[in-house]
Symmetry: C2
Amino acid sequence: MSAVSGVRAQAESARAAAQVLAQLDGATRRAGVRAMADAILADRDAILAANAEDLAAAAALGTGGALLDRLRLDAARLDAIAAGVRAVAELPDPVGAVTRRERRPNGIEVERVRIPLGVIAMIYEARPNVTADAAALCFFAGNAALLRGGSEARASNRALAAALRAALVAQGLPADTVALLADTGREAMVELLALTDLIDLAIPRGGPGLIRFVAEHARVPVIRHYQGVCHLFVDASADLDLALALLIDGKTTRPAVCNALETLLVHADCAKAFLPRAAAALAQRGVEVRACAASRALVPEWGAAQESDFGTEFLDRILAVRVLPDLDAAITHIRRHGSDHTEVIATRDAQAASRFERELRSAVIMVNASSRFSDGGELGLGAEIGVSTTRLHAYGPMGAEALTIERYVVRGTGQVRHPPGA
Amino acid sequence: MSAVSGVRAQAESARAAAQVLAQLDGATRRAGVRAMADAILADRDAILAANAEDLAAAAALGTGGALLDRLRLDAARLDAIAAGVRAVAELPDPVGAVTRRERRPNGIEVERVRIPLGVIAMIYEARPNVTADAAALCFFAGNAALLRGGSEARASNRALAAALRAALVAQGLPADTVALLADTGREAMVELLALTDLIDLAIPRGGPGLIRFVAEHARVPVIRHYQGVCHLFVDASADLDLALALLIDGKTTRPAVCNALETLLVHADCAKAFLPRAAAALAQRGVEVRACAASRALVPEWGAAQESDFGTEFLDRILAVRVLPDLDAAITHIRRHGSDHTEVIATRDAQAASRFERELRSAVIMVNASSRFSDGGELGLGAEIGVSTTRLHAYGPMGAEALTIERYVVRGTGQVRHPPGA
């Protein structure tokens, strides 16, 4: 068959757009991002109508409440999405930033300069806000985004992408700066993930099934945004009021997100003082606890944990609890059961904090602060495309800068490595 | 089968070593690297005897001169390898470096801190010096290295690795900081490349066949060290003496390395003045030229280029030459035929230099400087594990810092994201 497939043709269009984007100055990109935000508000009715279609189709399939909620857009959520896009235009421009400059003894000047990655394939599930967030952040960093959202959000994603593309065209920018993969079948995704000559990075963001699928089929570089099995360790020296505040904030303020706590580990020396207080606060907030035998000896009303509960991302009002003899046991537990996302220690012992930091390899370590700060906005990135659990290129919350790469630019006056006669 | 395979067992040992290495201070790692350098010199006789074995086996197989030369060690080359290892101990320590520090409005202190990547699988071909270079650089950055060298260098690599491991053990460090993959078959390599729970990064360094094989089978993250199809563009405004010096240095001082020039592109306006001079200088140095019709009209003795000569990494005294009407045509040519490694422009026109930089996406751009500076040592990294042509994590020459990743460490005093009652 000599015809170019639809997937390859779309990737080639994205590559052509990326070549244009790599040469735009920051002011042009900022104006483009603002136009994208305006377009989301201007197309509000069409986007909400499309979303209503998706919701009706999902309800007809018997989709559950949590997924329906992630799928749902309303006026307030659209306002928030537009505001998030607009905020991207206020970030420092990562493109062209000189990160290092050195004159070598032979007189050549060596610079490291940030350039865009190129074409980013974003593969994600239900939430339509990712369509706008990813498109804005990729574009601001000078990249083209080829988006493959979940089938349950198809109409919403189409309406959003249509608004964003029209806004770009009106600014004289390539429409294919942002594109939805037209064919949403699994075979098209496999084809996309093999286009090593056209796709510079694939970012899968979703549940274990999606991540596994992408990891198995990708030939292009991948940065996973995998699950957060986040731990809180309450050290023997912890301020227990502080530890309780971290527990409640981490577990109950938004249980369905990746920086929510899933497991509480408690030093045996403070278990008796801490666990009954924790039990009362958790019960009051409707949290189901699955606990080890030592915990249940102190709080008999808690259910028994299975081994598999440790390492599970519940994304719900469920918490696994275990009492451990010391910091070493906590570190060993987290290394075995964690997902390298975010771990919290409550302690007044600087040495314990330092060991927790050095001996764990997770992307984010929190000392006496809530796991819920493991987020690009909270950590000062301004916006995030997600939280990387891949230990390469970007680890933890990923902002605009992580969508660029440093290259070398060398300026000389004719220097050669082996001068004739030398 | 319940037994753990040999490959998995080796990777698990490397992971265990990496956990120890991640906690070592810089002084301990520096001392370990110096001990590795000493061991190479102390074991000189055993290493050279092993190398003689490899050379004899290769000669018996009818291996050609260039490959034999890359395989050969002698006293001077071993001295150079030991000196290269020793130089690593003098580099700035990338581990623990704080790259950003910010206090957020809520009082949390956010740091980005460099930590080791973990376990690095290095997959390479003939040159045994890579065994020592990669081991030293990986270890200095706090990583364990699992090495899979070419079968033609098996005895040399074993002797080198034995020396390095003994030196580490004598320093109280884990032997498996450095290990050769025991099973050098292709199936073992495929198994290694699928160990996503144990291997943090695979670095293939070699020819197209090796790179393709790794890209096809890897499930772990990969940074390719692929070929360098490096271009020199001589702009209309170029100083022709300078351009000629860059051409001779780039093409003739070491044609078999990846930062050597492979293609000369010449602006039509200076072709008549430049090409006959280039022809004389190249002929004097035994370089075969494969040229376009416009070039051959000026230098009739040059052979005719096939289209496939553009984009070929000759690694030999062969050069492809093409005359082009302008800078745009040069940029288009390089985008189509280049390998994203290193491109050089000779020009006196600042705007042409700027466009060459902005419109090309190669890892290294040289303005009026030789392509042969595209090397970690020359660009100020002190040492390099190779030159990445993967546009993620590290792009271009890769030093010790590129073997680490930034993570977040947050210190608070009990801050939560949603304070009760707020």
